[in-house]
Symmetry: C2
Subunit: 144 residues, 2 copies
C-alpha cells in the first residue's frame, strides 16, 4: 500500500471512519496531480473517466485529507478553495499574480524554521501552513 494511503487509512480508522472506494479514488486523484486543484476539477476528472464520485463526497473528503495532514489549502486562486498535496513535499511558499493568475512556488529553508519556532513558542499544534504573496509578476507589471 502506498504510504499516503496508509497514512489516510490510519487517520480514518483512528476516528472511527472508513476507507471507502470513493475516498481511495479521491486520494489517488489528488496525488496524481502536481499542481493546485479545486473540488470541481476533481469532479470533472472523475466524470471524464466515468468514475462515479459525487461532488458531495469530494467536498466531504477534502477536509479529511487536510486534517490527516496529506493535503492543504493553497492560496485561493479565484472563487474556489484550492488545494495541493503536501505529503512528501518540502514546505514552500506561493506568489500568485493578480494580473494573470500565474502561481510561482518557491522554497525557503528559513520558512520551515520560523514555523517550528513560532509553534513551539505558543504550544500550537500546526495542521496547515501557508506563506503567500499576492502581487504582480514581472510580465504583468509592464502592462500596468
Amino acid at each position: 500500500m502506498k504510504k499516503e494511503k496508509e497514512i489516510f487509512k490510519k487517520y480514518l480508522v483512528g476516528k472511527g471512519l472508513k476507507l471507502t472506494s470513493e475516498r481511495e479514488l479521491i486520494l489517488e486523484e489528488v496525488f496524481s496531480r502536481h499542481d493546485h486543484f479545486d473540488a470541481e476539477a476533481l469532479f470533472q476528472a472523475f466524470r471524464a473517466r466515468s468514475e462515479n464520485v459525487s461532488r458531495a463526497t469530494i467536498y466531504r473528503t477534502l477536509p479529511l485529507l487536510v486534517e490527516s495532514g496529506l493535503v492543504q489549502e493553497a492560496l485561493r486562486c479565484g472563487e474556489r478553495v484550492c488545494y495541493e498535496h503536501i505529503y512528501g513535499h518540502k514546505s514552500h511558499g506561493h506568489m500568485i499574480c493578480i494580473g494573470c493568475g500565474k502561481i510561482i512556488e518557491f522554497e525557503n529553508k528559513a520558512l520551515e524554521k520560523i514555523r517550528k519556532k513560532v509553534c513551539e513558542e505558543y504550544g500550537f499544534k500546526p495542521v496547515e501552513f501557508r506563506f503567500g504573496i499576492k502581487g504582480y509578476c514581472k510580465d504583468c507589471q509592464k502592462k500596468l
Copy 2:
C-alpha cells in the same frame, strides 16, 4: 487629512475613481478597528449608527482598499473573507485555531526579510502578504 485617507485618495484619483463619502466612512471604520473583520461586520456597524452604506458598496470598496495597500485579506476565519488594515502595522503572521477560532498574531522580523528577498529574486511586485498556520491551540489540544 489623515495619512491613510491621503493614500486612498491618491490611489483612487490615479485610477480615475472618486473619494465618495461612503468610501470615506468605510475607510474610517476599517481603521477604527484593531482586529479582523468581514464585510458583514462593517455593514452592521454602519447600521447600528444609522449611517447608510449598503452591502454592495462595502463589497465594492474592500478590494479597492486592498489594491491601495492599506488593507489585506487575513487568513479566512470561517465562511467569510476576513480583512485587517495593515497601514502602519508591522507585517505579522497568524495562527488560527481550528478548534475554537482563536487567532494568535505573532511578529517575526525574519518574515519580512524573506518576503523582500523572494520578491526581489523573482521581480515580483507584492501587494499582499500572508503567513498563516492553522492548527490547534494549547487549550484545544487537551480536548482532542
